[in-house]
Amino acid sequence: MKQVLFIFILLAVSASSKAQNQDDCNYELKGIILDVDTKEALPYVQILVKGTQNFLLTELDGSFHFKGLCDTSNVLVISCLGYCDTTCQSYHLNSDKPYIYLKEEINDLEEVTITAERTREEGTVSIAQQIIGKEALSANLTQTLASAIADVEGVTFTSVGNNVQLPVIHGLYGNRVLILNNGIKHGFQNWGSDHAPEIDVSSANRVTVLKGAAGVRYGPEALGGAIVIESDPLYLKEPFQAKVGTGYQTNGRGYFVNAEAGQGLENWSYHLGANYTRIGDKFAPDYSLTNTGKEEISVNGGFRYRWNKWNLKAYYSYLGQDLGLLRSSVVSSGTAIVRAINSDEPVIIRDFSYDINEPNQLVQHHFGKIEADWQYADDAKLTLRLGSQLNQRDEFDVRRNADLPIIDLDLITNDLQIDWEHPEWMQLNGLIGLEVFTQNNDNNPGTQTSPFIPNYNTFRFSTYVIESLKSNKSTFELGIRLDYEYNNVRGREPNQDVFRDEYRFMNFTSSLGYILNISDDHTFRTNLATAWRTPNMAELFSFGQHGFKTSFGLLRYYTDENENGALRTDRVTALGESDVVPEKGYKWINEWRTKKQSNTYTLTAYTNYIENFIFDRPIAVIGTIRGPMPVFIYDQADALFIGGDFSWQRQWSNVIDGTLGMSYLWSRNIRKNEALINQPPIMIDYHLGWKIPAFRGLTSSQLSIKPSYTFQQFQAPRTVSPEKLIDGLVIITPESEIFDFKDAPEGFFLLDVAWRIKSERFDAGLSIQNVLNTRYRNYLNEMRYFADEPGINFLFNINYLFNSKSS
């Protein structure tokens, strides 16, 4: 491998669209092959239409022109000067801008279908992964990041209402799924299930979901997978382009406006974006979901400067959010819990309003990044990345001092990363990296409550090596990583006495992957990786009521042997003196992808064993001044997850394609041989798309229908109603089997319909979510105890595109 070549392909596809007789071989395909950065034409590139004898070489201006093609959809195999063999599926017919950007390292792939594959990050090439592109992301800008990626098989989200949603990969979420924003770990209050990543969907250009443990490349916490968010790639020599868009949704009477603009000049480029969203109280089929509105404002900007082989990139983003939580979810006493859970409708229902009252979350997130890379040889690059984030979170609760936040935290996260993509050495290609990560969390005074999370400083130093070896049809990838972490914690007891703790961890992580490209149509990937995670601050130190739960962290309770093992919470145990140990995960994930004529099958099978898995569970009902309250503690056990995802994509005809998706997960606490709580149920969906040919000035139009069925979670823990606990009919001790307050909701069928149209300058969409206005509750939504999910929603959106010159 002597050279890495970047290509940029511009395909202008023109079929004789007036005479669309599919039996005739009269389709044409035109395109240009350009360098992605310099936009220089690449002549003499050999292009083959896959499955035919039809090939040609590009002209001096990089252009090519196929005639007499028999299919509307063609796969091109592009062999660039003997250095790369890449394949891209041409977008045929009506897509107005058949730009295909490829920035590939040739050694990473032999075959690329642009709809599914792109360059994979070192350290993740053997991990099953899926990409969500800009178009899918921008179809609904009112949604959260988590729901935007939930179409990926094996991925769903856990939520507290409709505003706070966390991505779930193969049953794991929160600190076990790493969220990487522009190369930097998103630094936020990542604990509990009620803190969603503060990332605006509109700022993302592409989101990659890694379903395997990616701890070697991205660090601890990638136990269950990673979500990699990239903003605009900032290509050079791009004409000025701007887009303004707006949308309205009926459910919650929500609206959004957004704008973005970007341009690539000779040596520099920029991209700017802004978005504003406001949604009021949403509606379930039978009632208003009081206090479920949200307001969100975001701005982001990227800048790139190129100087010879140097690239300097800077990126800044800001997100401000005010997220309402269902008013009826706040209960302060045992009797109120019984009433709220047993009531068919939420206990508090008020008329529609845009107002957001307590309980709510006010968050501001600033993100800044500077990145410099030096491509000093064709296959060698040195990158320096610096990230700085400020996350300010205020949470308000219904209480006597409701105007004061009950949680008021400032979290500063700094990252320094240096990585070196080394030149080929003994057939090995690889990446060597160093990372320094620091976090500083401070409580702001004035909450009039004991801090739920202490002040802390975290310092982490990491180094890793990832090497891959390619021979013939096989690629091997091996990675190892060393992390050293130091934490310094200062908190307050309920009587306001100070407690302090200091602890360190050191850990090795490793990953072994293998890819076998059996043929052009069959690929097998397997990846075995270890990962680890230190317990987060809430798991260690939480104390008292937050939301409707009263919970105690691992270091906050102990059993008193002098009193028959009674639970006590009157002192904080130092981590060094406790038996708390970090989580260790071992995930083995396999992906088999095969293509037969117009069918593509992808099967992913995995097993994930997590030692010292930390979870919270109900422990007892304790008498308090407010009446009896159920109490939760954090505990550790060993958990096993086994599951699979399957997708079958079929091109039914030239204009109709369908995708069947299924995901299944079996999970269990194997130390105690009991169920795990809040695990995703079996899901199955079918997506049918119909491309409508151009008419009346529309360049394209697409109708899609998506029925889906979510099964009842049959592995849910047993149910013990709160009244039984309060009345003492069921006695819970630290040894008792795990339980839940309410049965897992029944399975439900949902139907979504969407229609998108495009013309030269406009694109617009109408989608209808929950067409049948189905009444349902979602097992992974903590609000399932109190209220139904939203009912039918009509969402309209329209975008207008400005170009300095039409291309």
Binding site: T335, N414, R490
Partner: protein, 203 residues
């Protein structure tokens, strides 16, 4: 652990060398102490004989560790004489703080957001009659106080015991009802500040 401290120092040096990291990694501040008006640890019900101010009957409930898991302790029951009229008042404290903080004062300041509700064994009192207003807010209770909107508060209530002996229970529930309290709001509206059940003996 030599190596580790070396690593740590080395990388701190790297950070400084880059000179971008503006925040100190070594700040060592603890959270500021908070006063906790939310927390109630001690509630005492004080029954004073209207005919004899020195005849005082008290019953208390104590949750010494506040939000901690220690069980609530009900100290004694309510023992009243037959055929007497009592005024019920409260001592409500947060004793996690030293000195203890009087929460009763705060409730009085925010009396338009609070109301006490009661339930008791049927027939224990000749006034009010019935079994209290927790099950039905319009049932009779002799409230002696009202907020600015003219709605009852319950920090002072009057009770006339029955003429015959009764053994049963007595529950006092303080509801916090910001923007919820009206002339008709009941014991399940808003959130509970305390909900305490005592044994009741009238002899």
């Amino acid at each position: 652990m030599e190596l580790l401290s070396y690593l740590r120092r080395y990388s701190l040096f790297a950070l400084l060398a880059v000179g971008v990291f503006v925040t100190s990694c070594d700040d060592d501040d603890e959270p500021e102490p908070e006063n906790l008006p939310e927390v109630i640890t001690d509630v005492t019900l004080i029954f004073t004989n209207n005919a004899d101010a020195s005849d005082i009957v008290t019953a208390s409930a104590v949750d010494p560790d506040g939000e901690g898991v220690q069980e609530l302790q009900i100290l004694g029951g309510i023992v009243l004489d037959v055929d007497k009229t009592y005024t019920l008042t409260y001592a409500i404290f947060n004793n996690l703080e030293t000195p203890g903080e009087d929460i009763g004062e705060e409730i009085l300041e925010e009396d338009d957001e609070h109301q006490l509700f009661f339930s008791f064994s049927e027939g224990a009192f000749v006034s009010p009659t019935g079994n209290g207003n927790i099950d039905n807010a319009s049932d009779p209770i002799n409230y002696n106080d009202a907020d600015d909107d003219g709605n009852p508060v319950g920090l002072s209530t009057t009770w006339t015991t029955s003429s015959s002996a009764v053994t049963g229970t007595f529950t006092a529930r303080l509801q916090h009802q910001p923007d919820v309290k009206t002339a008709t709001s009941g014991a399940t509206d808003g959130d509970t500040d305390f909900d305490l059940t005592f044994t009741l003996e009238i002899k």
